[in-house]
Symmetry: C2
Subunit: 421 residues, 2 copies
């Protein structure tokens, strides 16, 4: 694609891109380039990296926390970084104005610390853009109907950027970060992983294991609702921007499935090591037991991922295995221990030595055999599958964590994702 098709863009820069005055100057280079190319530009920034942590530490040193005041403290990080970038641009005679959430205003509900956006007024931003002034917007924050500052939680600046892009009816939301795009798999594990030029919103959401580090999930959901294309690209990689009259493959575009012409069945191989497995041994095999177990877990907010139940050997007892996030293992066990008087089981066996590998691709919808290919590839390598889940565009399996790299490389190769050697 040629970049000049995008005439109005939102550019978002994260904390590592805004880390110090020198890096902010590099960010200003990107903004200056787009502005001088005649684009209508709005910018969203995170706090300087480390600053939010410093502020959170101040708050935590006080004790029981009021979330509204906590938001007043930590939102100052973006106030500072947005004004520093505006200063940097103005020092180059590029008209720019820092804009805080309350100045837009960007209205949220009053769930301080994890606020949801209710409404983004575009009037003030439109005014600035119309008079050729670049709004430099403090990410991660808004104001409630009570006129109090609210924040969105970690990674919230991505969501701000997408929301601003939707409000301004921009053509694209460019997310500048420290990687140059989304890869077919984690390049630290899979040597031949390649950058994906285009990926659908749905796939991006499923790529969470890799993707969550690149884009906040909520921002992708929001972009999907409003059909706002996001491009993930690097702040620091050289030559990652368009040359005159030349089409260059910049970053990864996350967009509507319909805009993706390539007909790949599988787009990427994702993984997660943060899984834990619990087996309930010798459980009474009678109706209602599973409902009781998973109902109680859900009630306490424990998210169960995969469930495997073996066929009962004696018709009276069975083993039930399921996986949860590792951080929820302790909680899940204590819930089950409390249930022991109501449901009958021999004992609980836990394991953290498991990992999840997922094969993701919208092409699966119209292609059979993807799962079978996965199982046979793993079998060839002698890797045992402990549990399976599938969605329309994903097949995930739980395996012993020691095989995770082997599995990922084999699958990456089997689905033809390896870049040319």
């Amino acid at each position: 694609m040629i970049d000049k098709n995008y005439s109005k863009i939102v550019m978002k820069f994260g904390g590592t891109s805004m880390a110090d005055i020198e890096k902010i100057s590099k960010v200003a280079d990107h903004v200056e380039r787009e502005f001088k190319n005649g684009k209508k530009v709005a910018v969203v920034v995170s706090a300087m990296s480390g600053e939010t942590d410093r502020l959170i530490n101040l708050v935590n040193a006080i004790g029981p926390v009021d979330k509204s005041e906590r938001d007043a403290v930590i939102s100052s990080g973006e106030q500072v970084s947005s004004a520093l970038l505006a200063l940097t641009l103005k020092a180059r005679n590029i008209p720019a104005t820092s804009v805080q959430g309350w100045q837009i205003p960007l209205r949220t509900n009053k769930m301080h610390g994890s606020a949801r956006i209710l409404d983004v007024k575009s009037k003030y931003l439109d005014q600035l853009i119309t008079k050729n002034e670049i709004p430099i917007i403090a990410g991660f924050q808004g104001i409630t109907e009570e006129n109090r500052i609210s924040t969105f939680g970690r990674g919230g600046s991505d969501t701000t950027a997408v929301a601003i892009a939707c409000s301004l009816k921009a053509d694209l939301c460019d997310i500048y970060t420290d990687v140059d795009g989304v890869y077919t798999s984690d390049p630290r594990i899979v040597e031949f992983a390649q950058k994906i030029s285009k990926i659908s919103f749905e796939e991006m959401l499923e790529m969470a294991s890799q993707g969550a580090k690149v884009l906040q999930t909520r921002s992708v959901e929001l972009a999907m609702s409003y059909n706002m294309p996001i491009r993930v690209r690097s702040t620091f990689a050289e030559n990652n921007f368009e040359k005159k009259n030349k089409t260059i493959n910049i970053g990864t575009i996350v967009t509507n499935e319909d805009n993706i012409l390539e007909d790949k069945v599988v787009s990427g191989i994702a993984y997660s090591k943060n899984e834990a497995k619990i087996t309930i041994q010798n459980l009474d095999d009678k109706p209602g037991v599973a409902a009781q177990i998973f109902g109680n877990l859900a009630k306490e907010g424990v998210n169960v991922d995969m469930i495997v139940q073996n066929i009962s050997a004696d018709g009276k007892h069975t083993d039930l295995t399921f996986t949860v996030q590792e951080t929820e293992l302790k909680n899940a066990k204590s819930i089950l221990d409390n249930l022991k008087s109501q449901i009958n089981f021999h004992k609980l066996i836990e394991s953290k030595d498991i990992a999840k590998v997922s094969v993701i691709g919208v092409g699966m919808r119209s292609h059979a055999g993807v799962a079978a290919e996965m199982f046979s590839t793993l079998a060839e390598k002698g890797i045992n599958i402990q549990a399976i889940t599938t969605s329309e565009i994903k097949v995930s399996v739980i395996i012993d964590s020691q095989y995770i790299e082997l599995a990922m490389r084999a699958l990456h190769s089997a689905y033809g994702l390896d870049k040319k050697k």
Copy 2:
């Protein structure tokens, strides 16, 4: 005076009082005490000490400065400190809410960095106070009519506190600082200096040499206009607050002259070492020369303090001596050098080895002999007077800076200000 006469108060805490979480806890003690004594309270805070400098350094590292963006950066210091104090109070179950300039709103003109207050709305603050919630107000800042954050310049939180006190029709503005009041002279120089219990606004303004370190001049001027009493008191001194049913002499009250019953002729001895003297030698003694000199200095913003012109010996030439702030010496000299072609003089002689001593007291208005007493006291010690200025409530002299301590002690004693030994 008994403190309980003040039913509605504004409490202001400076940067050293807000320096860290531990000190903020000490500040919260003061607020808690007043609140639990049934007072209606509003609080104004400065940024944590060092924070404003850190932010200014970030701004200065960028280069040519846009003052509106500079204000957006440095105002974040008070945003953080106000929310940290509110958090501290809430952790003690004392209802408190941080309030930024834009939330009040406190409107200023658009002189970013040295903005003047135009209007302070009391509605939101009144609402909070009425429902027994303590507003913790970020000092030093407001918003312009363009909805941009503005700041007042150094020491501006004192001005915020007085403005808020006036707007809320408070009974008193308590300025908590690192000294326990205003003294008859600088205690580091004059051993027997004593704390003044009450001082008039006019005297406080004249006590600038000592006073400016305690209270920002603008805040005193504002308090004088609205007849809002200010009390200067210590954040950290123990037992500096009222005991039940006991009258304790807390801090120094700065108030209307009419409220001061004591009939002291002289209230204090002030000094300044930041003076410089310029003598223009062998200047043409003709009409219009002085006007030309001081007109040009004024035009360039150089503030001339005292002027001494000797009688011309030959009727044609004279020596003209005047003093300026030491920081303005260089500027003043270059202005005069540029004038040399228009006015005729032999040369310029400068000296920084001078100091100003002032005797201050509203009682002078009705008492003769104050100046004479000053001159004879200095003469007794063999100290030569190089220049004199007087106002209704002040006599200032310029002397050789080596005699400054000797002069101050002698005068302090001569006017009966020494505390009982």
